[in-house]
């Protein structure tokens, strides 16, 4: 693997709330190589989006308690000040959202919004140059009439068109890392497919790494090279996409795979019984144990992260037992 652009180590994140302290992320370790496409999968409410927000420093500083390291290109984002983060956001790290139409300001034209982002980070110095850059960038995302799109307001464009504008906006300053929060989930599947293809082509062209959050394993297989599986704020398993999807080692990964609806199957997908635990008082040790068919007393201790194959690691006592036997 190439040198990491993003290296998260021992990240703990809690929020102080009225009900008490909510332990959202626990000992998260995650690495994204330069130019690598990494997926982060898990159920809704398992902390994926919070992790993206933590990377960008978007969480309320008055409520968050964050320890550990988020190294981006040599800078520790956990300790970075707001002004430093602001200079990084949108230029060296940017983000693509679920619903493009609500991510664009309804009262300004696309031209206004694109040139604003370009000028803010000095990618172009004059309005003319920024507009020229915006026009050519829109052509790159397969928009045939950039002039018409630039003169439009977001509500005059389709969801797919807004998605391309959003991608352009995120990539126009040539970031080193793009965070994607379930891009296109608010759109229909064909547009989502387009979105993924565009993102893969464009990020490869500019050499940007991608960390994509999704609950869709189909998206993972198609888009990513490497995958992290997150459950209730802990990384339970990670490995190269093909290896991990072919031979999942963690019971949670296996359950996630079994829950995918298939076109060729005749049986309904099997849902995972139960729900993601309360973060105020999560189960001790392995957080998946209340829902795990293989749960045993040893699960009350934090499970060790063990290597099962090249680059493939899993945090589960089942595997530790196998190694011991």
């Amino acid at each position: 693997m190439t040198a990491p652009i993003l290296d998260i180590r021992g990240l703990d994140l809690s929020f102080d709330m009225f009900e008490g302290r909510s332990h959202v992320l626990r000992q998260v370790a995650l690495t994204v190589g330069a130019g690598q496409r990494v997926a982060l999968v898990g159920e809704s409410g398992c902390g994926k989006s919070v992790l993206l927000r933590a990377i960008l420093g978007l969480l309320d500083r008055r409520k968050r308690v964050m320890t550990g390291e988020i190294r981006f290109d040599g800078t520790d984002l956990v300790r970075e000040r707001e002004s430093g983060l602001r200079a990084i956001r949108g230029s060296r790290i940017s983000m693509i959202f679920q619903d493009p139409s609500s991510s664009l300001n309804p009262v300004f034209t696309i031209a206004d919004q694109l040139t604003e982002v370009i000028l803010r980070h000095g990618t172009a110095k004059t309005t003319q140059a920024a507009l020229a850059l915006a026009t050519s960038a829109l052509r790159l995302v397969a928009i045939d009439e950039p002039e018409r799109v630039l003169a439009s307001y977001p509500f005059q464009l389709s969801g797919g068109m807004n998605q391309r504008v959003m991608i352009t906006m995120a990539l126009i300053n040539r970031p080193r890392l793009v965070l994607a929060d379930e891009p296109g989930t608010a759109l229909d599947v064909t547009i989502q497919e387009q979105t993924l293809r565009l993102m893969r082509r464009l990020t490869t062209d500019i050499g940007a790494a991608v960390l994509m959050v999704t609950h869709n394993l189909g998206v993972v297989r198609e888009f990513a090279e490497y995958v992290y599986v997150m459950y209730a704020g802990t990384i339970v398993e990670h490995g190269p996409v093909d290896e991990l999807l072919e031979s999942p080692r963690h019971p949670y990964t296996a359950a996630l795979l079994a829950a995918v609806p298939r076109l060729d199957g005749h049986s309904l997908p099997r849902p995972i019984a139960g729900t993601v635990p309360n973060f105020l008082s999560p189960p001790p040790g392995c957080r998946f144990q209340p829902r795990c068919p293989h749960a045993r007393p040893a699960c009350d201790a934090p499970p060790p992260m063990l290597t099962v194959a090249a680059g493939h690691e899993v945090a589960c006592v089942l595997h530790a037992e196998k190694v011991a036997a």
């Binding site: 960008l56 978007l58 008055r62 602001r86 200079a87 990084i88 956001r89 949108g90 230029s91 940017s94 983000m95 959202f97 619903d99 609500s102 991510s103 664009l104 300001n105 309804p106 009262v107 300004f108 034209t109 031209a111 206004d112 040139t115 604003e116 982002v117 803010r120 980070h121 309005t127 920024a130 507009l131 630039l150 003169a151 959003m166 906006m169 995120a170």
Partner: protein, 294 residues
């Protein structure tokens, strides 16, 4: 299309004049009546020296030969006890009323907007401090507050406007606070932050323009009420001082001569009514058009 940022006021003006919006606005005949009233009094006030039949009667002066005349062809609204033409004085009175409406809101709105934006965006202790101060102002009956302020300061037009502005900004603070609170969670505000926008940019470029529809509607509705409040203060003798014609003080002057010289109070009173009604109907029309709550 200009790539530069649109002036928010221009957006709304353009939205208003866009054919489809004008069509929807003009479907409501009451809105059109309101617009007509507002345009009439505004033009009359602007061109008062040319429109008024006796422009010389705007100031001091006596003409006892024509004193206390009932409405006639020469003096449509009659004349007052000094022989001054009431119609001319009502027209000049609109100058004072409209400038009070504009100036008071020009002071109150920016204060309220900034307070509301800051409190709604930063929440926490900023909200606590700013909105509690706002609540204190809101808890005192407006006219009482204005009377108290004028009790300390000398009664004059300038002080009356300051007093009214002091009681008016909290409503804008509350309006903008509520909108900002909702908009802060919007995708485009988060997106702007993610793309490296500063707080000032988020407040004034992302959030404020999206408050404009509500803001303009409320301003339109409020001009009428400010005029009414200014007239109330004038009626109590706390606003404009004689001999400048002001609708409220004209009603008060006429009231001393009721019922004989009824035209002296009825016509300035109707003048106030037309102004308040006009701005209200127009504001209601805008509210329906822009589909906002104020």
């Amino acid at each position: 299309m200009s790539p530069r940022r649109m002036n928010p006021a221009r957006i709304s003006l353009r939205r208003l004049l866009h054919n489809r919006h004008w069509y929807r606005f003009s479907r409501n005949s009451l809105s059109l009546v309101g617009l007509l009233m507002v345009l009439t009094i505004t033009l009359a006030a602007l061109f008062a020296p040319w429109v008024a039949p006796y422009p010389g009667n705007a100031g001091p002066g006596v003409d006892f030969a024509h004193a206390s005349q009932p409405p006639s062809r020469a003096h449509w609204f009659g004349t007052d006890i000094s022989g001054r033409d009431e119609l001319s004085r009502v027209i000049f009175g609109y100058r004072v009323s409209l400038s009070v409406g504009v100036i008071v809101l020009a002071i109150a709105v920016p204060i309220g907007v900034v307070v509301g934006l800051l409190a709604g965006y930063y929440r926490d202790w900023v909200e606590m401090v700013l909105m509690r101060v706002t609540d204190v102002f809101l808890s005192v009956p407006p006219l009482v507050l204005a009377l108290a302020i004028l009790g300390v300061l000398a009664p004059s037009l300038r002080n009356a406007m300051l007093a009214i502005a002091a009681m008016w900004w909290p409503w804008y603070a509350r309006l903008i606070f509520n909108i900002t609170r909702t908009l802060t969670g919007q995708g485009y505000v988060v997106a702007a932050k993610v793309l490296g926008a500063s707080d000032a940019h988020i407040l004034f470029v992302e959030i404020l323009p999206n408050c404009m529809a509500s803001l303009l509607t409320k301003i339109t509705l409020d001009i009428g009420f400010v005029i009414l409040t200014a007239a109330s203060l004038g009626f109590l003798g706390l606003g404009v001082q004689a001999p400048t014609p002001e609708l409220g003080s004209m009603v008060a002057e006429g009231a001393q001569n009721l019922p004989d010289l009824w035209w002296m109070s009825v016509f300035p009173g109707l003048g106030i009514l037309v102004a308040v009604l006009g701005f209200n109907l127009l504001g209601d029309g805008l509210r329906d058009l822009m589909d906002v709550e104020v």
